[in-house]
Amino acid sequence: MGVGHIKVGTASSRFAAWIASGFILVAIFLPFVAGRSLLQDLFFIFSMLVLTQWWNLLAGYGGLVSVGQQAFVGIGAYAMFGSVILGNVDPVVSILIAGFAAFVLSVPTAFLAFRLHGAYFAIGTWVIAEVMRLGVAQWKAVGGGTGTSLPRSATRDMWFVDGISVLFDVKTSAARDILAYWLSLFLMVTTIAVIYWFLRTRRGLALFAVRDNSQAAQSVGINDFISKLIVYFMAAFGTGLAGGLIYLQKARISPDSAFSVLDWTAYVIFIVVIGGIGTLEGPIVGVLVFFLLQSLLSDFGSWYLMTLGVIGIAVMLFAPKGLWGLFTERTGMELFPTRRQLVIPEKET
């Protein structure tokens, strides 16, 4: 007797699981009642959430502070465009190609980037992304430096669009939005589930061990190199998928927008920091705050971005664990518990 057992879940996490299931169910059926602009807003939130979760996994758990994730958004987007325009692949399928293309490209990238550490890694990944942007700008078949649009025929004949159009009795353009919304919902839910699952595997736990105490982890023989590599590849694949999806919805691409460090890395970093880095909940909180700020302030243009920069600085200096960190400090609640607790039963009397 007196032997404890390991427990990961908490009361609030079981509660959260119910809420999450309910949310997913509501979200699936939302297009039946919601208007087009709400779906577009949610598409934006979900796809940003995918990007932020992957960056959070990289930097918050893996210690890999990349400033070059826009490389995988761009490569995914261009792989999607390339396979649609040159290969006549259906756009829905081509999103998968986007993920694979990003993954394939992440292998040589990792070979380079993993020779670098800390700040060098950050700058190195940024330069690699720039190289890809400039390289893609040379690819004339997809518009070179000025970019191109998805051919109308491809988006019109896209899988499921006809069905949705009939089912909801809407125009094909609205049906495309619904399809994109569902895809983004699916991608977002899978992303969070996969990351949550990964963090609870042996490889995932190695990341925690090294993050919390690198020397102690090394002294008991934990090597997190493989874990970090896996994280890097997974993040590339997931970011590539998101890139493909985002540009399927935009239907227009250029190297400068697809490889934008501001849109696909700077915003992502701010979201993660404001929400709370190194937690799964943080990016969710962050993306909601970000969306709110954007809806309220984006009319003010540069004032909006200035505010965003200053908020990022303030959070990093005064609340480095972000809004979610502040919240858990007050309440002790965790929705996605990744820490294991040792539960020792009280002595029988």
């Binding site: 950050a122 400039l134 701010f270």
Partner: protein, 287 residues
């Protein structure tokens, strides 16, 4: 002969990149601080010079001297009250804070000066050149290169020949032991960033005289500068000059082959050097 000219142009361009990078190299070498706002701070400097020139109607070189104390103070305050709080083993806080600063500065400049391109007028100097054999070399690139050498020489004199420089190096090695010597690391770091901003205002002068600038160009200059610092090697200012020259030469040769390849060639040269020598060409400090 065309290749020789390209080579010389590249080397001289490297001087400009070394000027962008010298302040960054100083800050990075001594504090391991990655200042992602360095490029934007140079742009801020360029606007300061522009304002002084247009209000007082004086020579831009004189205007730079007038702006210099302000830039030093800016750097000192920034380090003392913001960046010192981010230093530590974790590289994320300084990266994020300077990233935030970069975006805030860019948009503040955009608000204040609009997105229009500006230029600091250097008069006849802009187009003057001297013939060397059958080549003709621009005075402005030559002056930039000479300034870069002078700046790096001066910084090295401070670092290796003065008590302040000893304190820089000691604090960089081990801030706690340095504080046992009566050195206050936070003050030393503030002076380092102040000094880096003095270099930045010189870089700003040449940035503004040689080409037009607008609020958004900081990050691109920052990348070139970082490439120069990294391939030069941590903590070596001459290495930074060498790094700048490599980027500059790669860019001019790339452009000579195909104008669209200029930037790409510079980045590829950076990655190639990094692949072969991950710690740079002339590393002084151990990372």
């Amino acid at each position: 002969m065309i290749w020789l000219e390209t080579l010389i142009q590249g080397i001289l361009l490297g001087g400009l990149y070394a000027l962008f990078a010298a302040g960054l190299s100083l800050v990075f070498g001594i504090m391991r601080l990655v200042n992602l706002a360095h490029g934007d701070l140079i742009v801020v400097g360029a606007y300061m010079i522009l304002i002084i020139v247009s209000i007082l109607g004086i020579n831009p070189f004189v205007a730079t001297f007038i702006a210099a104390p302000g830039m030093f103070a800016l750097g000192w305050l920034l380090q003392r009250f913001v960046l010192n709080r981010t230093l530590g083993d974790d590289i994320l806080p300084p990266l994020l804070v300077t990233f935030g600063l970069s975006i805030a500065l860019q948009n503040a400049l955009l608000e204040g000066f609009s997105a229009d391109s500006q230029r600091i007028n250097a008069g006849a100097l802009e187009t003057a050149s001297i013939p060397v054999g059958s080549l003709s070399i621009g005075i402005m690139p030559l002056l930039t290169f000479a300034t870069a050498i002078l700046v790096i020489f001066g910084l090295n004199q401070i670092i290796f020949r003065t008590a302040l420089g000893r304190a820089f190096r000691a604090t960089s090695d081990d801030p706690i032991t340095a504080s046992l010597m009566g050195i206050r690391p936070s003050s030393v770091f503030a002076i380092v960033t102040g000094l880096a901003m003095l270099v930045a205002i010189i870089a700003a002068l040449y940035l503004g005289m040689r080409a037009s600038f607008d609020p958004s160009i900081g990050p691109v200059r920052l990348i070139y500068a970082f490439e120069a610092v990294i391939i030069g090697g941590l903590g070596s200012l001459w290495g930074t000059l060498l790094g700048g020259i490599i980027i500059g030469v790669a860019q001019t040769f790339g452009a000579a082959i195909n104008p669209e390849w200029q930037i790409l060639a510079g980045h590829l040269a950076f990655l190639a050097v990094l692949l072969l020598r991950p710690r740079g060409l002339l590393p002084r400090a151990v990372d």
